[in-house]
Amino acid sequence: MRDVAVVSFAQTKNVRRENRRNEVEMLIPVVQEAVEKSGVPKQEIGFYCSGSSDYLAGQSFSFVMAVDCLGAWPPIAESHVEMDGAWALYEAWIKIQCGEADSALIFSFGRSSPGVIRETLVLQLDPYTLAPLGADPVSLAALQARALLESTDHSEREMAEVAARNRSNAKNNPYAQLTGDFDVDELLAEPYFVSPLRKHDCAPISDGATAIVIAADDVARKASKKPAWIRGIDHRIESHQLGLRDLSQSTSTSLAGEKAGAIDIDVAELHAPFSHQELILRDALSLGDDVKINPSGGALAANSVMVAGLTRIGEAANAIWDGTARRALGHATSGPCLQQNLVCVLEGE
């Protein structure tokens, strides 16, 4: 395996509604910033890969115009996944492992504001039996939270603590959307939103974009003073039928973590759009109390769909760069109730 490192990370501020710029206008400064910070000359970037969703954007082939932000001339080696950008990073990492490229730019963009995300995500479900029921993602997450609360020692208080800690951490993150100090008792006094979830247990609805440059071996060493080396990356999927899964656990995260070598972690950036999911993920990855979770505030502070997973890898790299961590973990999730999960382990020199 070649040594590959994250060498730069850039993101937009996450906002409830970006109503001035279109996708390309959002991406141009982010892509330029990632390229500049990477130290890899733009013309030497060997591969490009993006992640986004047509249903989120509300039009077919929505990723096509995003190519406009790259200056794809002369023509470039480029690909796209209809997945969170974290999987685009995985595809780029594979390309580098094949020796097809020495560096890659990965980006993703997601705007939930044009549509109604709770309605859009219903279309992720089996179209014959589940989607006609209109089961929305918050209700499904609530089922999962209930399964967790009933079958383990975890409590609603812990969920509120997760929400409070993430939003407090996010005060130091200029790109976060929902930040501030919250009192756990006051949060618990709030009414249920979809029981047992309260509003604070749910991620905000966000628009945003992220770009990352990764590079191999000497290209990374030459470009960056402090490459965040990818020591392991793996992803796994579970059954789509919620009835076939133990929703209080995330076996796919455990497996991906095991394959990616998720041990001795100092900082973990977990993509948990609902507070109870952070508890499930911590258990799945056996992250103890000594592991710092989501210094960025995580998805509970900013959750641009298709972007938030890639952002977690960028934030994990930030933890290496700012010295908070020697080994950091970035996690991404996709699908209802943590159906699919990716774990990326980063390490400083």
Partner: protein, 165 residues
């Protein structure tokens, strides 16, 4: 086989999603100019090419575009096709001509309809002008230009527009 045992081959699940789109900065400016009856593109600071309608960037250079340049309203047909089949969402009498039109001052052709002209008479290199809707109907929309029609100017030689097909 009794009716109850017939396999179900199809179910209908209507689905409705509403989207509220954001045009973006460049398109907003373009549409505001259209509202005033002007076609305004943007010039790339790097390669100096003029894009219309501009989408806020030069896709070739990957940089944001800002400088505005008024183009048209006359142009040249660079290539075209004659549509003889109905399409979803398009309500026009068949046959009709859809053409790439290189507006004067622009460096990229614009897809539009040619009317007031027999389909058989449309040619590559033909000179055309924009036909606008009545002024009181103008809004921030592409539809202010109803179509293009021929004007009495000599055809442009192929070599002069062969890079803008």
């Amino acid at each position: 086989m009794s009716e109850a045992k017939q396999p179900i081959k199809s179910i209908v699940t209507p689905s409705r999603l509403e989207y509220d789109f954001t045009p973006g900065i460049a398109t907003t400016r373009f549409l505001r100019h259209m509202e005033e009856g002007r076609i305004v593109g943007q010039r790339c600071a790097e390669c100096t090419k003029v894009y219309v309608p501009a989408r806020g960037s030069c896709p070739r250079c990957g940089v944001a575009t800002k400088e505005e340049v008024e183009v048209g309203p006359n142009g040249t047909v660079t290539t075209f096709c004659v549509v003889r089949v109905p399409s979803e969402n398009i309500d026009l009498t068949l046959p009709y001509t859809a053409a790439h039109i290189l507006l004067d001052g622009a460096d990229i052709p614009f897809f539009a309809l040619i009317q007031e002209c027999d389909a058989a008479d449309v040619r590559m290199g033909m000179r055309v002008e924009a036909v606008w809707a009545a002024k009181e109907e103008w809004g921030p929309t592409f539809e202010n230009i109803r179509y293009f029609r021929p004007i009495d100017e000599p055809d442009v030689p192929f070599d002069d527009f062969k890079e803008h097909l």
